[in-house]
Amino acid sequence: MRYRFEVVVSLKPGLLDPQGKAVEGALPALGWTDVSGVRVGKHVELTVEAPDEEAARARVEEVARRLLSNPVIEDHRILRAEEVPGPDAAEPGRGAA
């Protein structure tokens, strides 16, 4: 089975996020004075082959902990997981080349 995952990596709460701050600083200039608490992170999509979703999820956790994030300063979270067609089928985004 193939599973498509979305993982988000973000700075741990409490750590200064200068990118988030810069984005937040730009908001009032555009008239949005009602928006705050901006934090910028990373969004990663990946496909895992595994016998079931539980095994796939365990693999993603491992990948996220050891490579996608630096656990010293970052947290990660799986946003979404869904079963996708096997490798024979066209992958989304790859077009019909």
Binding site: L15, P18, Q19, K21, V72, I73
Partner: protein
């Protein structure tokens, strides 16, 4: 003095300061030995330098991909056997990602790339890089980085401070501490740290760019001279 100390400098795809590091080693009387990221061979060197640059384009995080390079297995083995390992700038980031040094380097608080001369104060002399210096000694060296803000969780930071693992802090010309002297927002003005054994050191400033009096201040000279002397003494 017998033979010259042999200092290996690793080149990763995207390393920039490998040549300067080799040249600095040579200027100070050592033999610079080029090492290649894809080879599992340290060529019998007495010390290893991971130089500055943007290995693997800084993709994902600085140093995140480089830590998996084949040569890093050997660097880890060398470090675990007590061999002197120095990480400069990107090399420091790689050592943190590899878990050979505590903490992590994040985007500068200012969000700006900083390129200027700074002063650092020697906090620990329990490393080959600082063994021949005095605690409190102030050195002028350059920084050039966008992601040099040293960070660690509260417990880690307390441990780093408590065990005296801070090797350098950013400071003023007289050794005074303050936010005005901190170029990137590092916790505790930390510019460099060591491992518990002391043989692995990393710092954001560039000693290898500060060894030639024709080119400016020479704050890097005593540091690399100490590394060379200690690398040989260990043999």
């Amino acid at each position: 003095m017998g033979r010259r100390p042999r200092v290996g400098v690793v080149t990763f795809p995207g390393s920039l300061d490998d040549r300067d590091a080799l040249r600095a080693v040579r200027l100070l009387g050592g033999e610079g030995v080029p090492l290649w990221h894809a080879e599992r061979d340290l060529r019998g060197v007495d010390a290893v330098i991971l130089p500055g640059g943007f290995s693997y384009g800084d993709y994902l995080r600085t140093g995140a991909i480089a830590r998996f390079a084949p040569v890093m297995e050997e660097v880890r083995r060398f470090a675990e056997a007590g061999g002197p390992v120095l990480g400069i700038c990107n090399g420091f980031q790689i050592l943190c990602e590899a878990g050979l040094l505590p903490g992590a380097l994040a985007r500068n608080a200012s969000l700006r790339f900083v390129c200027r001369w700074v002063h650092v104060r020697v906090e620990s002399t329990a490393t080959p890089l600082t063994a021949e210096l005095l605690p409190g000694e102030v050195l002028e060296v350059p920084v050039k980085h966008g992601e040099g803000r040293f960070l660690a969780g509260p417990e880690d930071l307390a441990r780093i401070e408590g065990q005296g693992l801070v090797v350098f802090r950013y400071c003023g010309p007289g050794g005074e501490l303050g936010d005005a002297w901190n170029p990137n927002g590092s916790a505790g003005h930390i510019a460099g740290v060591r491992n518990e054994a002391g043989n692995v050191v990393g710092l954001m400033p560039h000693p290898e760019h500060a060894v030639d009096p024709d080119l400016g201040p020479t704050g890097g000279q005593p540091l690399l001279a100490s590394l060379l002397a200690r690398a040989l003494a260990r043999v």
